[in-house]
Symmetry: C2
Subunit: 203 residues, 2 copies
DNA sequence: CAGGACATGTAAGATGTTACATGATTCC
DNA sequence: GGAATCATGTAACATCTTACATGTCCTG
């Protein structure tokens, strides 16, 4: 929220919109949280009420202290390294399902990733045309999303195929590698052992 | 936890070890949580106490109901799509820093990703040699990690270079491929031109 | 004048983390 | 007998989600 307020004063309602529209896939936040946090930040002197508007609207502006805190966070605090990837967690337990169901799961992941990717491509188009050119850092973040979703899709397709081939399931036309086209973001790793021996369970 | 218990009965202590060692980057859990959750699951009939050991050790086994619940989760429940990527969130606000600091941040991300990647490669070696061959799904999950960390590193290198070139900063030698070591999972692509993101995907 | 967008808040409950607290067994 | 490891739990606190609650302003 401090970061968002560096772009200029805003109300909780404004910030909420930003979270919903542009930050939702990176850092979701709820209405409850935003309003409570604004009051907390104001109490801590990191933001201050800047103006009052029509319907009880309260605009907040970041303070010098707030900017210092933001910079401190950006430069001194180590980012959290562990993440929770529910979709990946499930993969560990796919052996509980029939191979066919497992493949279905992986193919669904591939589809979802593809959809996310398409959405981001669209976002890039809509923004680079319009009067709202994304900043350097906005573009860098967008590029991350593009690469991430591409990677997810390639991986899921690869994995679905592996499951199928190790279980004698009929090949799916959809799982085939994209024809001819140069592969996306920086080339997928060449398939490591596409035919590794099946074996016991993970710990 | 239900998934872990399909491999056989285990105590909270056992499960905790698994979380620390092999699940930590995908789904961290604390000691508190594990023990509390085991009791909760036992209360719900999804696991049952199976045996008592030496120092108050209590082994739990998954029940039929638990297996059904696990399968239900795997097949019917939509995985959560939004994630929190703190390291990426920060990118949105890097404009608050001097370009040089922003580049430092991105380079640190690249290094961290490279280290993670190396750790996974090592894990693959140590496991494929040993007497504990990873299962198909263990390998698929590992491959995800390899691809993810490779993608992160490529992106961060690319981004750091972009920041530098748009700000007339001197080029860094560090942005080049790592010395000697064969690059990440299956060869990272030669970096495409620094100003032409490679993210497009075939539909 | 009705409906939708604007606008803010609180309360209850679930989930997660950190720290505290305790004790048994094994190995050297 | 001391240290490490095994082993389980509780309490306090922080965080996050869902639902509830309320009121204003603008547009058609």
């Amino acid at each position: 929220m401090l970061g968002l307020l560096t772009a200029g004063p805003a109300s909780g309602y404004d910030l909420l919109k930003v979270f919903e529209i542009s930050l939702n896939h990176v850092w979701p936040a709820t209405q409850s949280q935003v309003y409570a946090e604004l009051n907390r930040l104001a109490g801590a002197g990191l933001v201050k009420a800047a103006a009052e508007g029509p319907r009880g609207r309260k605009e907040y502006a970041i303070t010098e202290t707030g900017i210092a805190e933001l910079r401190h966070w950006l430069t001194e605090v180590e980012p959290q390294r562990t993440h929770r990837f529910e979709a990946l967690l499930r993969v560990f337990f796919l052996s509980e399902l029939e191979p066919e169901q497992a493949r279905t799961y992986l193919e669904r992941q591939a589809t979802a990733a593809e959809e996310d990717h398409a959405g981001l491509l669209e976002l890039r188009e809509s923004v680079s045309q319009g009067d709202d050119p994304l900043s350097l850092y906005g573009n860098i973040a967008l590029e991350w999303g593009l690469r991430f979703t591409a990677m997810q899709r390639e991986w899921a397709d690869w994995a679905a195929e592996r499951v199928a081939s190790l279980n004698g399931l009929p090949a799916h036309p959809t799982a085939a590698a994209p024809p001819g086209g140069s592969p996306p973001s920086g080339a997928p790793p060449a398939d490591p052992q596409a035919d590794a021996p099946p074996a016991g369970r993970p710990a």
